[in-house]
Symmetry: C2
Subunit: 326 residues, 2 copies
DNA sequence: TTGAAAGCGGTACCAC
DNA sequence: GTGGTACCGCTTTCAA
């Protein structure tokens, strides 16, 4: 900027005015400055600006795994929404480790992201997130951070799970099984609890079964084999997320079993499989958009108490749930 | 940092030493400083450090669409590899628009990312990328930026396409069709050209057909219907990427047609469909890793001429390509 | 309309 | 081993 100023025979301040489109610069002067900028290929150093202004025009995102389609859709929608606000997105994967999550939170805070969106790695509240929330707006997505007074945007886990159980019960299934992902994941637990509650409140006559992971594929197969035998076999399954759904589909094919199935989270080709898979759809884009809006509401000075937004789910009925119990 | 210095009764410089783990600080002093840091919840302002040191410990990534599984795997692997080097990843989607790509490149450069990884939006060389390459190492992934002297990491499009055609020819297919994605995409064109070349060099007796997008689903259906009729019908298809593969699968099911199929890019559940889909697998993680390594090689002072790395592809034979021609 | 100078929060260099 | 100080590139404030 100093170079530009010298070459254009103006002060640094005037260059700054031109770059920032402030008015109060004679058009002739502005034009000259712009020419020199072009000529020198000058780019404003955003970092210096950030330092002085205290705002970095970027927000941070931490998820478990950016390669998981659900999270990548979330990230994509957050990036788009952030761009509407002239902000860039810095994203990273915690890979299920709360330690890594802490490191990433600290790294992002050190970089002065203006807001932080986190899918908490574990049900345990994270100390790093608590610290971050003192400085910048933090929004938890998909899972809350219990005990932390921050905004959250969650899917309707209870409603979604219940809609699946109701759907199966209406098809006369009396004994339903639930397979959730790793017990350390909040949504896995929550959906499992909601499943049990739904079975009870619907007064399902038979015993239902539940399991939480993590498990290896062969464990899933063994479990389904066991659940399907005996005097009171399970006849329908609800899975806790897209990963487990795929595991279960593979296990079912291997066993040649015919459980009715409702999977949590929609996934590509769910409608294309044979039979097409009924799912509880929870739109990641809707969650992401809401989260970003909340970040900017806080940045705009909204100091009301932390809120939790619950985004409704949609039961998409396809073929896999339509098998009648024997 | 000033606050920490005051409370710990040392100079700012000493705090800086402690924060940066430089030696030459008495353990006792360091401990005291660390205590105050903890107590104040102090975080080093990375932006200020960036400004002074001229290094931002972050790299940028621009792809077409972060929600596309191939790109999200790429992004994920780049993020992991960057983290090994203590760098964060700033990523954004250009959404196929070269204008948006330019804006994003400028935004990332302004933020002083230390290196930039780009999947160029169009076959046209981008002016913004050219400018960026003057300041920082730039690596093109998946597609090159023709006319720009930057490193590139590409899949073996020619070899991959050829392996597919050879595979089909060996199964006695004489007339093969190629459906590529949007003609503006470099890989779409390249694979199409490679397809034609492979057909010729193998001396396939019948006429082959090619088409490039973008197209709507119903156009795909119409095209397949046409290709499958007449005196010299196409009996096998090669698709140009994962998006087109899915379009073709749906169209084939709708038509009840039985083309043999090889798809470019592996995708989740490809092995689970009926029949399972033969694909040309191009590992996004391998490309991403190589790209990051190249960025850091340049940052470490490697000033040799720009290189192009070609990552081999793997033909994964499943069921869809095993249908014999009628 | 334009400019000079202070300062954002660190780090490099050199003195003590 | 520790501290002082200039300075990174930009914005803010205030004066001309």
């Amino acid at each position: 900027m100093a170079d530009v100023a010298t070459l254009a025979h103006v002060s640094i301040k005037t260059v700054s005015r031109v770059v920032n489109r402030e008015d109060g610069v004679r058009p002739e002067t502005a034009r000259r400055v712009r020419e020199v900028i072009e000529q020198l290929g000058f780019h404003r150093n955003e970092g210096a600006s950030t330092l002085r202004k205290g705002r970095s025009t970027s927000i941070g995102l931490i998820v478990e795994d950016l390669a998981n389609p659900w999270y990548s859709h979330l990230a994509s929608s957050i990036e788009q929404e952030a761009r509407l606000h002239q902000h860039l997105l810095v994203s990273a994967s915690a890979e299920g480790s709360s330690e890594r999550e802490s490191q990433l939170v600290d790294a992002l805070v050190a970089r002065r992201v203006e807001g932080l969106i986190v899918v908490p790695a574990t049900a345990e509240p994270s100390e790093a997130i608590r610290r971050a929330a003192l400085d910048i707006p933090v929004v938890c997505v998909d899972s809350p951070s219990p005990g932390l007074a921050v905004d959250a945007v969650l899917g309707d886990n209870d409603g979604g799970t219940r809609s699946a159980v109701e759907h199966l019960a209406a098809r006369r299934h009396e004994r339903i099984g639930f397979l959730g992902d790793d017990a350390a994941i909040w949504t896995a637990q929550r959906r499992c609890t909601a499943f049990v509650a739904a079975c009870e409140s619907l007064g399902l006559p038979g015993p239902s079964r539940t399991a939480l992971g993590p498990y290896r594929p062969d464990e899933v197969t063994a479990m389904l084999r066991e659940w399907g035998c005996g005097p009171a076999p399970v006849t329908a399954l609800v899975t806790g997320n897209n990963r487990v759904t795929l595991d279960v589909l593979r296990a079912m094919r291997q066993l040649g079993s015919t459980f009715a199935l409702v999977g949590y989270d929609d996934f590509e080709l769910a409608d294309f499989l044979e039979p097409p898979v009924t799912v509880i759809h929870q739109d990641p884009a809707a969650l992401g958009q809401r989260a970003v809006q909340q970040i900017f509401a806080r940045l705009d000075g909204d100091t009301s108490a932390p809120r939790t937004f619950v985004v409704p789910t949609l039961l998409i009925v396809r073929g896999s749930s339509l098998r009648r119990p024997p």
